[in-house]
């Protein structure tokens, strides 16, 4: 049977766009290693709170907030804040911001708060030395910010919306 050689980049692209069955065939043909995330892209696998906490390992006192089941709406907002702090830390992979470096952008997400928009991320902002959300809620790249908005809207919702605004 005639064989056609393909560049690794093309194979990786094909893998990411394939069904589970397609992925399995590609992995059998080329080896699983080719498709494993590179060390600096491991953060892309962080898509649930469970995967976040596996990295950040919340303490007992943090779990009391993260598992809050009461009705005090400020506490519910703090549960959202705590989740966001953990997510940012896990995604940024321990890299800290340098607010004195005016060549280093710090990214944060901008949310449509209208009821018509149904709370949706409508973009991100990149800042150099100023902010309204600060270090605890800023991401190290645009890609990180987009990833966080895509996978963790519920945590933002708890932090940013009051009870009567959440639907």
């Amino acid at each position: 049977m005639k064989k056609q050689q393909l560049d690794d980049a093309v194979l990786i692209q094909l893998h990411s766009e394939s069904t589970a069955k397609g992925k399995s065939i590609l992995e059998q043909a080329c080896g699983k290693e080719l498709f494993a995330p590179k060390p600096d892209e491991k953060w892309k696998k962080i898509i649930t709170l469970k995967s976040v906490f596996a990295i950040t390992k919340p303490t007992k006192e943090e779990l009391a907030i993260l598992n809050y089941k009461g009705t005090n709406d400020r506490m519910i907002g703090l549960k959202g804040a705590a989740e966001l702090f953990h997510i940012v830390e896990a995604l940024n992979g321990g890299k800290e911001h340098n607010w004195d470096n005016s060549n280093e952008y710090k990214y944060s997400n901008y949310w449509d708060m209208t009821s018509g928009g149904g709370f949706s991320c409508s973009g991100y902002g990149g800042w150099l030395s100023s902010s309204s959300v600060g270090s605890r809620l800023s991401l190290i790249s645009r890609e990180h910010a987009e990833h966080m908005a895509k996978h963790f809207p519920t945590s933002y919702k708890l932090f940013m919306q009051k009870k009567h605004e959440r639907k």
Partner: protein, 164 residues
């Protein structure tokens, strides 16, 4: 005789522009207390003043008393102080994000140079970086918050090791 009606806001405005006799008339109708209670901006001059008014519950008090070094816990404690200040200073006025004519205010901070200064204000109409819990009903209230809570805001926006 047909009687006119005054809103509370109109009554306050007239009171501040009346002579003594006029003031007494208004006090008889609306009650003296309405004209003598100091404004929230006069009553709240520190984060502690806001906490005293908000009367936090047991869960919140436990957080406010947190004295450990876990950086994420410090962030949550500071977030609670910010939420309380916003609740108290906004006096129950909730943001209406569907109203494009109603700006929601938040201070903007300069984070560089080892310093921390209030660099600007931002106002949003229907979207935000910070949301309802950290927005203020007008520029004056946002400015007051920035003044009385600067140290606490710095520790909310910066991690402990970033504060010089």
């Amino acid at each position: 005789m047909k009687k006119g009606e005054l809103t509370t806001a109109q009554a306050l405005l007239i009171y501040n522009n009346s002579n003594e006799a006029g003031k007494k008339e208004l006090e008889k109708t609306f009650g003296k207390e309405m004209f003598t209670t100091p404004s929230i901006l006069t009553r709240v001059n520190s984060v502690q003043d806001a906490i005293d008014i908000a009367k936090p519950d047991a869960d919140e008090m436990a957080l406010l008393n947190y004295s450990g070094t876990n950086e994420r816990m410090i962030g949550v404690k500071q977030a609670l102080k910010m939420f309380i200040c916003s609740d108290v200073l906004n006096e129950g006025k909730e943001a209406n994000w569907s109203n494009d004519n109603e700006p929601k205010w938040a201070p903007w901070w300069n984070m560089s140079g080892g310093g921390f200064s209030h660099s600007d204000y931002v106002h949003w109409l229907s979207g935000s970086y910070v949301g309802s819990r950290l927005s203020f009903r007008d520029e004056k209230v946002s400015d007051h918050f920035a003044k009385i809570a600067k140290g606490d805001i710095e520790l909310f926006l910066k991690k402990s090791h970033e504060i010089k």
